[in-house]
């Protein structure tokens, strides 16, 4: 496991400044959520952390010297399963063995579907396979890029429980990008509000897990929402 340090990170595409002066320390094993309006730069921040984009200014460092980028996995908005591979082979990519793949599928409750083709599964099942694929290589850092955005409310709640359970069990460093504040409060130790490419607010969530929608929960939620909408 390793954490991530961002020091005054900036990112621009041509004249378009997407991220400005971001200082963040993400401890290993923590669960951080990044929320904000669309276009606030939250997905770009995730891509920078994943090493898919280079920073324009500032620096990005992993806290463990031994850490390699290869220990970071992303769960994308869309499942990105390879349609020409069976479910099991989709999980067993990038040097993951069949045994680990089967174990990962078991964890998401889809070991019965290992020989199916991706297009035979529902949207929620496909995202569970994508989660299994991300977990199979036992990542140090798992980045979630709005992975539940396209799912219906019930499936989304199921997935949230699944992600929370697996995170508690394996303690990978997690960063969740979402536009759903309730989801962020539900899952994260800390919620970061991004606005116009800068950190606007950092909010620790001190609630016991599994979290219920009680008064404290909603007050956190309202607080964060006000910040996003109010600016």
């Amino acid at each position: 496991m390793f954490g991530i340090e961002l020091q005054s990170v900036g990112k621009s595409f041509g004249n378009n400044v997407v991220l400005r002066d971001i200082n963040l320390s993400i401890p290993k094993g923590s669960f951080t959520a990044i929320v904000g309006k669309s276009g606030c730069g939250k997905s770009t921040l995730l891509r920078v952390i994943a090493g898919l984009e280079n920073v324009t200014s500032g620096s990005l460092a992993y806290t463990d010297e031994e850490a390699k980028k290869s220990n970071i996995r992303i769960m994308f908005q869309d499942d990105r399963l390879l349609p020409w591979k069976s479910i099991l082979k989709n999980v067993a990519i990038g040097g993951v063995g069949m045994k680990e793949a089967e174990e990962a599928l078991e964890k998401v409750g889809l070991d019965g579907k290992k020989d199916a083709w991706p297009d035979e599964l529902s949207g929620g099942q496909k995202q569970r396979v994508a989660l299994a694929r991300a977990l199979a290589s036992k990542p140090d850092v798992l980045l979630f890029d709005e992975p539940l955005g396209a799912l219906d409310a019930l499936t989304r709640m199921e997935m949230q429980h699944l992600i929370e359970g697996l995170w508690q069990e394996q303690k990978f460093t997690s960063i969740l990008v979402t536009h759903d504040v309730s989801e962020a409060v539900h899952l994260a130790d800390r919620v970061i509000v991004l606005d116009e490419g800068g950190v606007q607010m950092e909010q620790q969530i001190d609630l016991p897990r599994q979290r219920e929608r009680d008064e404290k929960f909603t007050s956190y939620e309202k607080n964060i929402l006000d910040k996003i909408v109010g600016g």
Binding site: I74, I93, G94, G95, W117, D119
Partner: protein, 258 residues
């Protein structure tokens, strides 16, 4: 799609060709079509049996098939490799694609006078024409297949630690495969067209040679037989290509048999 209709089975597509052949036979026997104009199907079959007994039929079909296979293999390999390099390496694309697109627009059969001057009328001339004809459809389809592979899947592969070779074999090639197979099927048609023309120009052996000789002796039944032979060989190669599609694209619901 309506799958359970009475016409959705193996036999129905053959109904029309069978009716046409029967009609043709009847019109021929009633002398409404003169057999010097168009021999009846029965006469054509008889010619086939006659040539089979002398061994001419098998020998000429073998020669033509050999030319088709060699020409297809050479042209297909060149087209595929060019498509591969140009689809994956920008340098090669910038270097060669414009030139290839320019040459592509020339009908390859227009090269025949040139080919005769270069190679004479021997085997190499025919194989060359087939190879040139086959190369372009395979090139274009391989190239566009690779170009159209979902970038998001490639990005996923990179994040999930695939090497360049793994990216190619796991994502790029299977992603381009439907297009490549379209190219192959199209190119198979081009193969026989090129061969028909090339073999009638001047050759020793082959179906085209059979046709030219028969024309000189006014053997109408053999002339029609050669046309039928081309049709059968064309359909056969398309059938093989279809089998390849069903095997290689079984992940695609459109090709899956339920």
């Amino acid at each position: 799609m309506k799958k359970n209709q009475w016409y959705n089975n193996q036999i129905f597509p053959w109904l029309l060709p069978i009716v046409i052949v029967i009609l043709w036979q009847v019109l021929g026997q009633l002398n409404l079509i003169k057999s010097t104009m168009l021999p009846t199907p029965f006469e054509v079959v008889e010619a086939g049996i006659r040539l089979f007994q002398t061994g001419e039929l098998q020998e000429n079909v073998y020669i033509s098939t050999k030319r088709a296979v060699i020409g297809f293999a050479i042209g297909g390999a060149i087209g595929f490799l060019l498509g591969l390099f140009n689809g994956t390496i920008l340098f090669f694309e910038k270097l060669t694609d414009t030139s290839i697109q320019m040459i592509r627009t020339i009908p390859h059969l227009a090269l025949i006078p040139l080919v005769i001057l270069w190679f004479g009328i021997g085997e190499s001339a025919k194989i060359f024409l087939v190879a040139v004809g086959v190369m372009f459809p395979i090139y274009i389809n391989t190239f566009s297949g690779i170009k159209n592979v979902d970038r998001k899947l490639i990005e996923m592969g990179k994040v999930y630690g695939m090497s360049k070779w793994q990216l190619f074999t796991n994502i790029i090639l299977p992603g381009a495969m439907p297009n490549i197979l379209v190219g192959i099927r199209y190119a198979l048609g081009v193969t026989w067209i090129s061969l028909i023309v090339a073999e009638t120009i001047g050759s020793e052996g082959g179906i085209g040679y059979m046709a030219t000789t028969a024309r000189e002796f006014m053997q109408m039944d053999v002339v029609v037989l050669t046309i039928v032979l081309y049709a059968i060989l064309g359909k056969l190669s398309d059938f093989i290509a279809k089998l390849c599609e069903q095997r290689l694209l079984k992940w695609n619901p459109a090709y899956r048999k339920n």
